[in-house]
């Protein structure tokens, strides 16, 4: 996405993209936590576990927070569903910015879709990692 678009309009574009199911990857989705949040701050995301991995047949729920400096700074992302991934803090589900390459190399034209796809790709790269029971939440 274009990086010089102000936060409000940038997040509005992302909202429309998410609402109209225009995401290029159908295995991820996101939307506003509260449909009347005019600050566009708090979002819910989902990732469908990629096939032929230990994440297969599971839906992962995430919380995404786009703070006042988004997209100059990455969002804060936490898994609500328990997941064993190298970038995810096992105590609370938080995606650690230093361990997640999309956040470590963040650019303002990255967006929530790219973030979720990045996490899905991390699942694919770690497809044999043992996983907690399906449905466990932080």
């Amino acid at each position: 996405m274009e990086s010089s678009v102000p936060r409000t309009f940038r997040l509005y574009e992302e909202l429309e993209k998410g609402e109209k199911a225009k995401l290029s990857d159908q295995s991820v989705s996101y939307g506003l936590t509260n449909g009347d949040d005019t600050t566009f701050t708090n979002w819910n995301g989902t990732i469908i576990g990629p096939p032929n991995t230990n994440f297969d047949n599971r839906i992962y729920f995430l919380t995404i927070r786009c703070g006042p400096h988004y997209p100059m700074q990455p969002p804060e992302v936490s898994f609500n569903s328990k997941v064993n991934l190298p970038s995810v803090n096992q105590a609370n589900g938080k995606v650690e910015p230093t361990k997640f390459s999309i956040f470590a190399n963040w650019k303002p034209d990255f967006d929530m879709e790219k973030t979720l796809i990045g996490l899905k790709n991390e699942m694919i790269a770690n497809k044999k990692l043992p996983q907690p029971a399906d449905g466990d939440m932080y």
């Binding site: 010089s4 678009v5 909202l15 449909g35 005019t38």
Partner: protein, 154 residues
């Protein structure tokens, strides 16, 4: 050719100058320090309307191909109005690509938004649940609209 939206064209400079020097009545404008294509407006509700006592924050952003494409505008103040939805989207003809012409100005957009507050259009609602209240009970619509002004637009 795609212009970076950070580029300020002579047209935008001229419009900005006009907006700052001859701001229409009932309107305050600030140009973003980070992005000269980004404008923050405070728009007073039109006298005699349900919204007359309120000041409404509206953000306007000029896309990279402005004025070939219309400005983008969003309410940042919650407002109970059939043509403005929960996240601040505005249903207004001149903001649509096929109704916009480059002869229009940012000022015209702002004045149209102010006018829209006083002239809810029930034939083309954006939030149908709000439009239903306006149709079923104008008194109830007025009460809620005025309550929201007190809650959010002060």
């Amino acid at each position: 050719m795609q212009y970076s939206s950070a580029v300020v064209t002579p047209r935008i400079m001229k419009e900005t100058k006009l907006l700052l020097e001859k701001t229409p009545p009932g309107v305050r404008v600030t140009v973003s320090e980070e992005n000269p294509r980004h404008f923050l407006f405070d728009i007073q509700g039109p006298p005699g309307s349900f919204y007359e006592a309120g000041i409404f924050k509206v953000e306007i952003f000029l896309p990279s191909d402005y004025p070939m494409s219309p400005p983008k505008a969003l309410f940042r103040t919650k407002v109970f109005h059939p043509n403005i939805d929960k996240v601040g989207r505005i249903c207004l003809d001149i903001l649509k690509q096929d109704k916009w012409t480059p002869a229009l100005l940012i000022e015209k957009v702002v004045l149209s938004i102010q006018w829209l507050l006083g002239a809810p259009n029930l034939d083309d609602p954006l939030d149908t649940s709000v439009a239903d209240v306006f149709k079923a009970s104008p008194e109830h619509a007025e009460k809620t609209a005025r309550e929201w002004v007190q809650l959010y637009a002060k």
